[in-house]
């Protein structure tokens, strides 16, 4: 024990605290990496399609988990069967995106939201 005390007295400040500096350094580096990761997560658009975030529990169940491979082969003869196959696949997907009633700006209208309605029922929520 005495030997250790003597050894420690002969050490410089850096040598005595290098383990603490190592641990603190690792924590700082990990914090910086987390900050960079969050920055990329938020700016890349990944955050907008991540339904596992808090606040999206109500719609998580409705998210499609289908993994049907509707891929049209990039090679092969372009005959009637190929066109029919393409039409069938394409129509299925086109139906999902053409004429959809998403993102109607009226949903955010002050009248719709009853923002300026005195004693709005929403005020109690």
């Amino acid at each position: 024990m005495e030997e250790l005390r003597v050894d420690s007295e002969s050490m410089t400040v850096w040598q005595r605290h290098r383990f603490f500096v190592l641990v603190a350094g690792v924590i700082v580096i990990s914090c910086v990496m987390v900050v960079i990761g969050m920055y990329i997560y938020n700016t890349s658009g990944a955050a907008q399609v991540d339904l596992s975030r808090p606040g999206y529990q109500s719609v998580q169940r409705e998210a499609s988990r289908d993994s049907v491979d509707d891929s049209f082969p990039a090679t092969g003869k372009l005959d009637e069967n190929a066109f029919n196959s393409f039409d069938s696949m394409y129509s299925d997907h086109a139906r999902q995106v053409v004429g959809v009633d998403s993102f109607d700006p009226k949903a955010l209208d002050t009248n719709t939201l009853q923002l300026f309605v005195p004693n709005s029922p929403q005020a109690g929520q």
């Binding site: 955050a47 399609v49 005959d79 999902q96 109607d104 923002l115 929520q125």
Partner: protein, 181 residues
């Protein structure tokens, strides 16, 4: 040295913040409107929260469909048309337009989502004017997202018509008659 390090880390923290504050728009609201916003805004934020969640679901569904249409249907079809030495210039052009519009859709939705998020997170009782400004900005951005969805839908339909045109070039009249029967 330490000062620079602290400034750098602080900048990163600020940049990575998930909160996106609405631009300081000049909004003219009367004091009575301000009182009504203070009274109703918590309920409105609850409604915004539901809209925000449903929008995320729509974004995911539409994004998946757009990706499939672009990468698994349009691109291979263009390839096959080119291999068959048919005129697929219009189809290729529509595919490029579609991909550009898809990038725009992603960007517009991101901006809209961040504004919505800031409106939901805002302390609207103490900042009614800012809350109203964020709401108005979100409405404008939502209209842009909708316009983008409509344009993408139009391009999907346009591509389908162009494939039909190429089909008439590719198939012999006999095959077309057989197909119609």
């Amino acid at each position: 040295m330490y000062k620079r390090l602290i400034i750098g880390i602080t900048s990163l923290v600020v940049l990575s913040s998930p909160f996106a504050y609405a631009d300081n728009q000049s909004v003219n609201i009367t004091s009575s409107q301000e009182d009504l916003i203070k009274a109703n805004c918590l309920g409105v934020q609850s409604t915004l929260n539901r809209i925000h969640a449903n929008d995320a679901l729509s974004r995911v569904h539409l994004g998946q469909e757009y990706e499939t249409i672009s990468t698994k249907l349009m691109a291979p079809m263009n390839s096959r048309v080119a291999l068959a030495k048919l005129n697929g210039v219009d189809m290729a052009r529509t595919t490029v337009d579609f991909n550009n519009k898809l990038d725009e859709f992603r960007s517009l939705y991101q901006q809209y989502e961040q504004t919505m998020f800031s409106a939901i997170q805002m302390k609207c009782v103490t900042q009614p004017a800012n809350f109203y400004a964020a709401l108005m900005q979100a409405q404008t951005q939502r209209a842009s997202v909708r316009a983008s969805v409509v344009e993408l839908g139009n391009l999907v339909t346009q591509y389908q018509q162009e494939v039909a045109t190429v089909r008439t070039q590719a198939l012999t009249p006999e095959q077309q008659v057989e197909n119609q029967q």
